[in-house]
Structure formats: structure tokens, C-alpha cells
Amino acid sequence: MPGPTIDLSLYADEAALLAALRRHDPDACTCLVKRFAPLVYARALRLTGDPDEAESVLQSTFIKVCDALPGFDGASSLGTWIYRIATNEGLMVLRRRKPQIALDDVADNLHPEEVPHQFQAWSHDPQRLALDGELRAQIERAIAALPEQLRVVVLLRDVEGLSTEETAAQLGISPGAVKVRLHRARLRLREALADYLAARSEDHA
């Protein structure tokens, strides 16, 4: 069944969207979902790696958003506020899972996957590459393949833009452990991207 169609420019202005949501305009609710749900779901899927859990995060996020809307003070943008709620909901799902085997958070103890093996330069502009569909697929696969405790840290720090301290508080670990896990995750992702990007820079040489 196709979703409802709606003119997305209807509430292009955030204040107008908020006012319409507060008077329970059904079109405003659809507009809110159309505008923000795709990234909420994409991030929840990355964080949990599970479509059912991601849908559960999506639903609980929007239920909380609708409940909390009357008190939303506009101190941040609507998007920032919604994505922060989504992150909290996603982390709650992860916390309900079975405890993970504790990581060895010592920077010197790199796993073989984290010790650099690739020493070929990449010659592309990463900003342009972020819009390259094949590269996006590569990095999404590499993120999905990370152990959960590394994946969560790199998503919060590098993709969602939380600080080291915020990430540590969200995960209940020390800032030092955040840094070590971030470093290990980045090294693994670099290695995973190297095959693809080093080969491409040869093509373009």
C-alpha cells in the first residue's frame, strides 16, 4: 500500500509545522513523518543492525516526539531534537540486549584487523565521495560489520556528532574507553575502505 502523498512544501517553515502539529492537523503529522522518519529509521537500522528493532525505535521515537511536542521549546532545531530522541531510543534497545563480552579498551592492544595493512594513498575528495552511492554502500557494509561496541561509538561520535563526553555518558563508559573504541573503529573502517578507494585512485591516475 503506498503511503499518503502530501505536498512537502506545505510546512517548509518549521514554526508553521510546529503550530500545525500543536493544533493536531493530520497533514502536519504526515509532513513530520515524511521529513524526519527516513533518517530516524536509517540511523536506527545502523545502530541496531535489525529491521524489526529499527522499526520499534522509529515508532517509539515518534510517539515520544508527539507526546513531548507541547513542551518543545525550540532551543534546538526540530530535527536535532528528534534525532536526539531517536538516539536515546536506539541505545535503550541495545541496552535491553544480552550483555556483550567486555572489550579490551587498551589502545596498545590492537586486533589484527586494526593494525594498518594498506599503505596506498586515496586521491578523492571525501565530501564528493560521501554522495557516491557505491562508496556509501561500502561504508554502510563496513559499519555493519563492526563489533557492536565499536559500531555504537563511531556512530555516536563521527556520524551523529556527539562529543567524547556525551558519548561516554550515553554509554556509561569512561571518555578514555570512548577514545580507544573510536580509534579502533576508525582503523577498521579505513582498512575496509582502502581496497575500494585505493583501487579507484589508480583508475583515475
Partner: protein, 86 residues
């Protein structure tokens, strides 16, 4: 790390890999920065690791700037139905 043509102390490279992240994030103390930069000037492999690690981080920073895929229609319908049910 495997170094082909250089006579570097591999143990030194391994120690410095642990500092690359703090260096990229601007959190490495100045004296260690100077030491790292001195090594990088003379070690092309470590320089590549630093450059490509920095590119990896920039790709991650920009990952969500492109529009995400549209929500699958059935999933969107279930969400809207749930929200309308109150």
C-alpha cells in the same frame, strides 16, 4: 606495519598509530605532536595511514548529508496508523 623500503623501527610505527586519532582530533599534547610530525616526515607509510584515516573520518562526518532512502511504504503506513491511534 609492513615497511618495504624504509629502515624505520616498526615498533615506533606501532606506537605512533595509537596516537593518530588524538592527533586527528586535535587532542594530542604539543610535544607528542612534534614527535609524531618528525616521524611522519620520514615515514611515507605512516603518512598514508594518517591521511586516509582523516579521509575516513570526513566520509563519516558527511555520511548523513545525502538524503536517506525513503521509508518503505508499509513501514510508513504502520507508523502513521500508530500515531493516529494516539
Amino acid at each position: 606495519m609492513s615497511h618495504a623500503a624504509h629502515s624505520h623501527d616498526l615498533q615506533r610505527c606501532r606506537e605512533l598509530v595509537a596516537q593518530l586519532n588524538d592527533y586527528l582530533d586535535g587532542e594530542l599534547p604539543a610535544d607528542l605532536c612534534a614527535e609524531l610530525e618528525h616521524h611522519l616526515a620520514d615515514c611515507p607509510d605512516c603518512q598514508v595511514v594518517l591521511d586516509t584515516l582523516g579521509q575516513t573520518v570526513r566520509i563519516l562526518h558527511h555520511l548523513d548529508e545525502a538524503p536517506p532512502p525513503a521509508l518503505p511504504a508499509d513501514l510508513e503506513a504502520r507508523l502513521l496508523a500508530r500515531l493516529r491511534a494516539g
